[in-house]
Amino acid sequence: MSPLHRADMTSRRALGFSLVEMLVAVAALSLIALGLARVFAATGDTLRIGRRVSRLNEYAAMIERQLRQDVQAMSTDGFVLIRHRLADDGSNIAVSSLSTQSARPRRVDELVFFEEGQFNSIRDAVNPMRQAGGSAARVYIGHGLRWDQSSRDYQNAPRVDRPRAASATDVVPAPAFGIAGPNQFAGDWILLRHLTVLSGPETTARKAPLMSGADSFPDSAIQVGWQPALSSVFQWEAESLPDTLPTAASLVRGGPVGRPVSASGLVDVATTDLTEIRSTITDARAPRVSGIRNISQSIDQDLAEDEAILGSQIPGVAYRWVLPRSAGRLGTPDWDAPVRAMQAWMVDALPAASDIGAASGQERRVRAEALPPDYLGTIGASGVEGQAFQETQPWRRTDQTMLTASNFVPGCSEFIVEWSFGNVYTDAADPDLRGQIIWHGLERDVADGTQVLPYLGNLLTDPQDRAAQQYTIDVPSITGAFAAFRYRVPHELIHYAPPGTMRDSTLYSCFGYVDPFWPYHDAGGVDLNTAAERAQILGQYGQSIPWAWPKLIRITITLSDPNEPNVEQTYQYVLEVPKRPGRIKG
C-alpha cells in the first residue's frame, strides 16, 4: 500500500491515537492517578482521624467545662464521697463485641458532692404554675445502668418507688458492667450527671395553694410542685420515711402510694436541705434499722487489718481507729463508732445501692437509657398495648424522658476519680518520683511511673515514704499550755471499704464535716498525753476541726467513638477543690 493511498484512506476517517500512543497516555495517566489516589487516601485518612479526634476533643472540652463548673461550685457545707470501683471486680471488659483486643479491667467510679445555687427540677412541670426548685443540689457523677430490653420490666411503666435498696425482692433487670446484657461492653456505658435538687425539708416546703381550690395536690415529703420527691438523699431514709404516707388523693400521680427512690432515675427533687444532711451525718449513730448495711462485719475486718498493718508493723504506732465514745481506749470494735457510722451514712447518699449484690454481678446503679423505652406508651408503658398515654397522666411521658435526661457522656468506657492532699514525693532514694504529686484512690499503676494508692495505703510495703504520704496539720503552740505539734490525719478517717471479696475492687474515700479523731493523734502516731493538755487544745482550737478535704481531684475519662468503637481516647482533668474555711492551716 503506498503512502499516498494510506493517507487517502486515513483522510476518510478521523485521525485517532495509535495503540502505542494510547498505551503511553494511559500508563502516564494511571501513574499520576495512582499517585494522586495515594495522596488523597492518605489525606482522607488523616482528615478522618483528625475530624474524629477534634470531635472527641470538642466533646472532652464540653465535659471539662461542666466538671470544672461543678467542682468550682462545690459546697463546703456538704460532703464529698468517692467510690472507687473496678467494674465486675476487675475482669477484662471489651469496648465492643468487635474489639476483643480492647478487653481490660475498667474503672466505673462514682462521685457525690453538693452544690449551692439556684436549681430547678428538669422534669416537665405537670402544672406550669408549680415548679420544684431549691437552693442546693446533690451532684452525682457516675455510670448508670441500662435495663435489659428483653425484660418485661423494661417496657412497663417505670416506677418511682423501685428498686429499693432495702429489698432483696426488688430484682433489677440490669445486668452489671461486663455481664452479658446491655451493659456488657464499655462502649455502651453511659456516664450520668444526675442532679437532685434539695427543695428544703417538708416543714418549710411551700404548701399554700396558689389559688383557692386550685391546688389539690399540696407539697409533702414525697411531692414538691406536683413532682415526685425523695424524702431524703439517703437511700435508707428515702425508703422508710415519712412514717405516714400521704393519701393517694393528695398526690398528683394517685395511688398506689410508694416512697420515691433515686435509683429509679425518675426523681430529681428531695425534700431536704444541707443542714438536715449535715446533722444526719454528724450526729450519726447506726442507721435505725440494723442489718440494712452490713456494717458490723466490715468493721471487724477493718480492725483486724488495721491492726495488722499499723499496729504491729510500725513500731511505736498505736493506732486508735475510732474515737471512743466513753473515756479511755476503745477496747472492742464498736460498729456504730462515730467515724464508721458517718461514713456509712455518706455511702448511703449514693443514689443507688451500688454495693448490694455487686460481688455477684448485680451491681446497682441509677437507671439510664439511651432512648426512652416507650415514649408514646403504645408498647406497654400505658398499661394497655397499642394505647398511648392518656392526657390526664402527663407525667407518664415525662417519666420516659427522665430515663435519658441525666445522660452526660454516652460511650464513656472508663471513669476514674482520684484525689490528692497536694503532697509530693520527697524520697531522695527514688529521684524519678521526687517532686511528683501523690494521688490517692484504688490501687493503680499509672504510666508516668507513679502508683495510685489509698491514703497511707503503702505503709506496709514502703514505710520509708510515710513522711511524704501522710497529711499533717500544723497546730501552733500556746505558751505555757502545750507545744506545737502536728496532727496526722488518720487513714480511717478517709477510707472505708465494703466487706468480703469486693475489698480489692472497691474503696470509698469520704470527706465529711468534722474530724472525730481530733486531737488524739500527732504526726508520729503518739498520743497527745494528758487530759489537761487535750482540754487546752480543745479550748484553743475548738472541739472539732474540719474533716481533711482533698485539694485536688483528678478525673480520667475514656471516650469511645460511636462510629469506630475500637477507638478510645483518654482525657484527664485536674480540678481544684474549693478550700474549706478553718483556723488551722492544713
Binding site: P3, A7, T10, S11, A14, L15, F17, V20, E21, A25, A28, L29, I32, L36, V39, F40, T43, T46, L47, G50, V53, S54, N57, E58, A60, A61, E64, S420, F421, G422, N423, V424, Y425, T426, A428, P431, D432, R434, G435, Q436, I437, V446, A447, D448, G449, T450, A467, A468, K551, L552, R554, T556, T570, Y571, Q572, Y573, V574, L575, E576, V577
Partner: protein, 380 residues
C-alpha cells in the same frame, strides 16, 4: 513507529488550505496529550497541596482545644500542691528556707549585704531587678543526678537544699496513655509595694505555657513515654529525648533532640525591651500595636516573629502575634510584629524616677508557638 509519525507529520504539512486534502478531524498528538496530562497533574498536585494546610489548621485547632484543658489542669496542679512542704522535707539543712520560700518572701528590707549573699534569690541578675516583677525561668536538669532528667528546677542550681522541682512526668499530659502535650512555667514575684518593713510574703505568679510534644521524636522500638521519661533509668542521655527539643541557640528541632544527637530542652525565653525589640506609640496616648526592630537574623528575633506566637510581659498581660510586617526601608532582617491586644502607651512611658514597676521590661515566650498560655497566682 517513526514511520507512522512521519506520515502523520507529512500529512499535516500538506493539509492547511489544500484543496486536495479534504477537511478532516484529527486527534491530539502525544506531545499535546502529555502536556495536557502534565498540566492536569500539576493542577491536581496543587489541589493536593491544599490538604497539608487544612491538616495543619485542624491540628492547631485541636491543639488549642486540648491546650485549654492542659493549662487548666496545670493551673490546678501548680496552685494546690504543697511544693514548699515537699521542698522543706528534702532539705538536709534544717532551718534552711526552701527555694519557694526564698522566692516568695521578700528580702528587700534586708541590708544589701544580706541580700547579696542570699543564694537563689536573684539568679538572673541583681536582686533589684528581680524585685521588679521580672520573669524568672527555672532551670531544666539535663543530666541524670539527684533529680530526674527534665525536672524544672526552682532555686539556685548550685545548692540542692534550695531547689524545688516539678518533674517532667507531672508536666506531661496525659499522665496515662500516649503523651500529647507538655507544660512549662516561669515565675515572677508580684510585689505588694510593702518594701521597707523587712521580709514579707509576696504572691508568686506563674505563667504556664502549653506546647505540643515534638512531632518527629524518633522512638525506635520504644514507646514515646519511655523515650521521654526513661522510667527505668537505663537510657543514656544520647538516646533520651525531650518533649520539646531545641539546639544550642534554643531554636526548635521538633524531634526532641538538640540537633546534634543529644537531648536539648526548649526552655522558655525572655526578650528584653530596648535590646531585643522596641515599642513605640504613634502619638502620645495612642496604644502600641506593633513591636518593632526585631532582628530575625538573631535566634531570639526569629522565634519572636512567628504568627500566633504568644508573649507574657512583666505586667502580666498576654499578647498574640497577628501579623509580621517588613517596614519599608528597614535594614535586612528587621521586622515589625503586630500584636493583639494592643499595649497601653503608659507601659513605656517613663515617669519621674526612671523605669519602674509599671513599665514594660520583658516579654516571656516559648520557642515553639504554644497551644495555650495562662497566668496563675500560686502560694507554694
Amino acid at each position: 513507529m517513526m514511520k507512522r509519525l512521519n506520515s502523520t507529520l507529512r500529512y499535516r504539512v500538506c493539509l492547511p488550505g489544500s484543496a486536495k486534502c479534504p477537511a478532516i478531524r484529527r486527534g491530539f498528538s502525544l506531545i499535546e496529550l502529555l502536556v495536557a496530562i502534565i498540566i492536569l497533574g500539576l493542577g491536581l498536585l496543587g489541589l493536593a497541596a491544599l490538604f497539608p494546610v487544612v491538616i495543619r489548621e485542624q491540628r492547631i485547632g485541636t491543639d488549642n482545644v486540648l491546650g485549654v484543658t492542659v493549662s487548666n489542669s496545670a493551673r490546678a496542679t501548680l496552685t494546690s500542691t504543697s511544693w514548699e512542704r515537699g521542698c522543706r522535707a528534702w532539705s538536709s539543712t534544717s532551718g534552711t528556707p526552701s527555694a519557694w520560700a526564698m522566692l516568695r518572701d521578700s528580702t528587700n528590707g534586708l541590708a544589701s549585704g544580706a541580700r547579696a549573699s542570699a543564694p537563689g534569690l536573684a539568679p538572673n541578675g541583681p536582686a533589684q531587678e528581680y524585685e521588679l516583677g521580672q520573669w524568672w525561668i527555672p532551670e531544666i536538669t539535663e543530666s541524670v543526678g539527684l533529680w530526674p532528667v527534665g525536672t524544672t528546677m526552682i532555686g539556685d542550681p548550685r545548692i540542692n537544699d534550695r531547689k524545688c522541682g516539678v518533674p517532667l512526668a507531672t508536666r506531661i499530659y496525659p499522665n496515662d496513655g500516649e503523651p500529647q502535650m507538655v507544660w512549662d512555667f516561669a515565675i515572677q514575684r508580684v510585689p505588694d509595694f510593702n518594701f521597707n518593713t523587712g521580709p514579707d510574703r509576696d504572691r508568686l505568679r506563674a505563667a504556664v505555657f502549653v506546647r505540643r510534644i515534638d512531632p518527629r521524636v524518633r522512638i525506635g522500638s520504644r514507646s514515646l513515654r519511655e523515650v521521654l521519661l526513661d522510667p527505668d533509668g537505663t537510657l543514656p542521655l544520647s538516646e533520651r529525648r525531650f518533649p520539646v527539643g531545641a539546639d544550642m541557640d534554643n531554636l526548635p528541632t521538633l524531634d526532641g533532640s538538640n540537633g546534634n544527637g543529644g537531648a536539648g530542652y526548649a526552655k522558655l525565653m525572655v526578650a528584653t525591651y530596648q535590646t531585643d525589640f522596641q515599642a513605640r506609640s504613634a502619638a502620645a496616648g495612642a496604644d502600641i500595636t506593633r513591636l518593632t526592630d526585631i532582628d530575625t537574623e538573631e535566634p531570639i528575633g526569629r522565634l519572636m516573629a512567628q504568627l500566633g506566637q504568644k508573649f507574657v510581659d512583666n505586667l502580666g498581660n498576654i499578647y498574640t502575634v497577628i501579623e509580621i510586617e517588613t517596614p519599608p526601608g528597614a535594614a535586612a532582617g528587621l521586622v515589625d510584629i503586630r500584636i493583639s491586644p494592643s499595649m497601653p502607651e503608659s507601659a513605656i512611658r517613663i515617669t519621674a524616677g526612671g523605669r519602674g514597676l509599671r513599665n514594660l521590661q520583658q516579654l516571656l515566650f516559648s520557642p515553639q508557638v504554644p497551644a495555650a498560655v495562662v497566668l496563675t497566682e500560686i502560694d507554694p
